[in-house]
Symmetry: C2
Subunit: 396 residues, 2 copies
């Protein structure tokens, strides 16, 4: 039979990048296409120990229905850590546990967006967020970036000329896909513009604790005095992504609405891993663990930056991320990175072409994303060499 | 600041039943308001054993990102079991793992519903589904039930006179909240009417394996030859709800769209419990376990039916469910069950008034729902006596 799919879901076309992802089934392919931390960074021993303890002492509790807002102790621990360590959150805010950072994006979008409302974002931006926005029928408006993050002159142009903007979506720290960090100055301007045009900000900050050099920059939310910033965080990058434990910190009124949406989305996040993270935070030193992860990832970032400098034509510009998981390459303006990535896959290396991260997927992009946390150091070297060889041919 | 919440989310008012749920913080209150199986029914020993095994041998895998569709072996095992044991599913169908049965309802609604589209359901129906429908801006049309389930004459009236119906939502077996089971004859008529008016059916069937007497009735999906039925199932009631492991079986085209929605909702369901259920199905006999659960729950159902017959005025009619978790009481027509439930809470027993399950929450209902799986046998007896005392006073 013929199905009458909802209009905005029907409009979401299978992405062209699927073709590139198809090569990943080949075990010989070096995947620079992932978005995960190095699995060697998971605190497996500690988690297994806590897991066994839960099984021995709290199993029935973790197997029952939990509250939609999340496990009480974990909510309190997360709030406290954000507040004390990052001056993020006020008494007017509340925090809920979500089924990973992605669910925060989805619930907030469902809470705010009427079909046709506009969401402004960095161009390029995280594909999972862009598709969440599309799945609720939002219109997307991209704002170009430079080395300091989203360009505020261009943002104001968009806000001044666009009706029905509901919120601005930013990944201010070690942005996905570019790896760039928005400067403090820009963050202040962002808040001022959001206030001037009376729109909200969704600050998606899953990578910010993976900093390998330089000084931390204050979260946008920490400078928010009026409940204008909704903060999405996650334990995926600092403990492990498969647990699906994220959180959202925002004004209580927004949180209350999001709880209604979460109730009908999945009732509650699995209790077991909420309890596991809570016990981990109580028993172990997360900050010390993060320091270890950062040391591990810094080596890989350095290896990739070095490999790219050594092997790749200097007409391709690469970002120098101070943290996170990604390096972004840019071909000279007239070139199509999708074609370059296709060529690279023939050499058994998978990068993600920039159009995957574009508000308009059919537009030509000269950028492409590479992940350095998942491949081994040897494979990073090999991948850079192959990218270099392909690029030399491609730029001829 | 003033938030501009999405119209259909803003329209979801905090329910009046919250007042009744507030009493649940008092540990002396006997809660007949839950929707969980008896926690004594969870196979805790077996789950702990498998859990320890996963920690010892597969922990890194379970902590990584998984595929959106779900853990391959669990998908295959679930498909096979439905097909071989219940003749449910065809080669044109596919199955995905969802974060509990609730997520199937939510993803399917997001996939199909444009704001203002109509969903037809039993009156009364499951509050979690009704709110999921509302959260995507659907209009609800309730169809009254009798002892044989949704009335087909009334369903046809609705279908013949209502524009933009996208699907019919039914809980055909041990319905929530009434405990009623739709007869085979009605199921066939339901399919025929869905075909005649070219609408889909969402068959929500989480309770069907909790049968305490009588013969199983074929699933609606098992009689579906054209991909018209979307089937929502769950391991919540037969293993445990806190894991958040449900599934959806439907035509591949619909499943593919739902995967896109799931990707942006929570990326994937937690790998750990997917693997745990898969290993449980491989190592243990789920059917034998279900037989044990049923024996346990039958004793409680019988105790409640007996207590209600013994203590409660016969002007209140009770359903006799052959399975599931709920008994439904009905006051004589002119009475308001919300007021009765308020009185009952004063005697420290919590029931759920019928308006919580109504498509129009502001309408007066004479029905109320009681759960028999969670309270102890002693508390079932005490609760029935208190309900009887309150009802005697109320009906004076």
């Amino acid at each position: 039979m013929e199905y009458k799919i909802a209009d905005h879901i029907a409009a979401m076309k299978p992405s062209a990048i699927r073709e590139i992802f198809k090569v990943l089934v080949d075990p010989e392919v070096i995947a620079l296409s992932a978005g995960s931390p190095d699995p060697g960074s998971y605190p497996v021993k500690e988690m297994a120990e806590i897991g066994n303890d839960i099984f021995a002492n709290n199993l029935v509790t973790t197997l029952q229905y939990g509250t939609t807002e999340g496990y009480g102790p974990l909510r309190e621990q997360t709030k406290k850590r954000l507040r004390e360590k990052y001056q993020t959150g006020t008494d007017a805010d509340d925090l809920i546990i979500t089924t990973g950072g992605q669910q925060t994006i989805s619930l907030f979008t469902q809470t705010m967006i009427n079909r046709g409302d506009v969401i402004v974002c960095e161009e390029p931006s995280f594909i999972g967020a862009l598709n969440a926005f599309r799945s609720f029928g939002a219109q997307l408006k991209g704002v170009p970036m430079d080395e300091e993050g989203m360009r505020m002159d261009k943002l104001e142009e968009v806000l001044a000329t666009t009706e029905r903007v509901k919120f601005i979506y930013v990944i201010p720290t070690f942005q996905n896909p570019t790896g760039r960090t928005m400067t403090l100055e820009r963050r202040k301007e962002l808040l001022a513009l959001a206030k001037k045009y009376d729109v909200l900000i969704l600050e998606d900050n899953p990578y910010f604790e993976l900093r390998y050099e330089g000084e931390p920059v204050a979260t946008v939310k920490s400078m928010d005095t009026e409940g204008r910033v909704v903060y999405a965080g996650s334990y995926s990058k600092v403990l492990s992504p498969g647990m699906r434990i994220g959180f959202c910190l925002a004004n209580k009124e927004i949180i209350n609405r999001m709880v209604v949406c979460k109730q009908v989305s999945d009732v509650h996040t699995n209790m077991y891993f909420q309890m596991l993270v809570s016990k981990y935070l109580k028993k172990y030193d997360l900050d010390a663990h993060i320091k270890d992860i950062c040391a591990l990832h810094k080596i890989k970032r350095d290896a990739m930056l070095e490999g790219l400098a050594k092997y790749v034509d200097e007409r391709i510009a690469f970002t120098h991320p101070n943290g996170g998981l990604f390096i972004w390459g840019e071909l000279p303006e007239s070139y199509d990175s999708f074609k370059l990535c296709q060529e690279i896959t023939k050499k058994k290396v998978a990068c993600v072409p920039g159009n995957a991260f574009a508000t308009d997927e059919s537009a030509v992009s000269n950028g492409f994303r590479m992940n350095f946390s998942m491949p081994s150091l040897d494979n990073i070297e090999i991948a850079c060499r192959r990218i270099g060889e392909t690029a030399a041919e491609f730029l001829k």
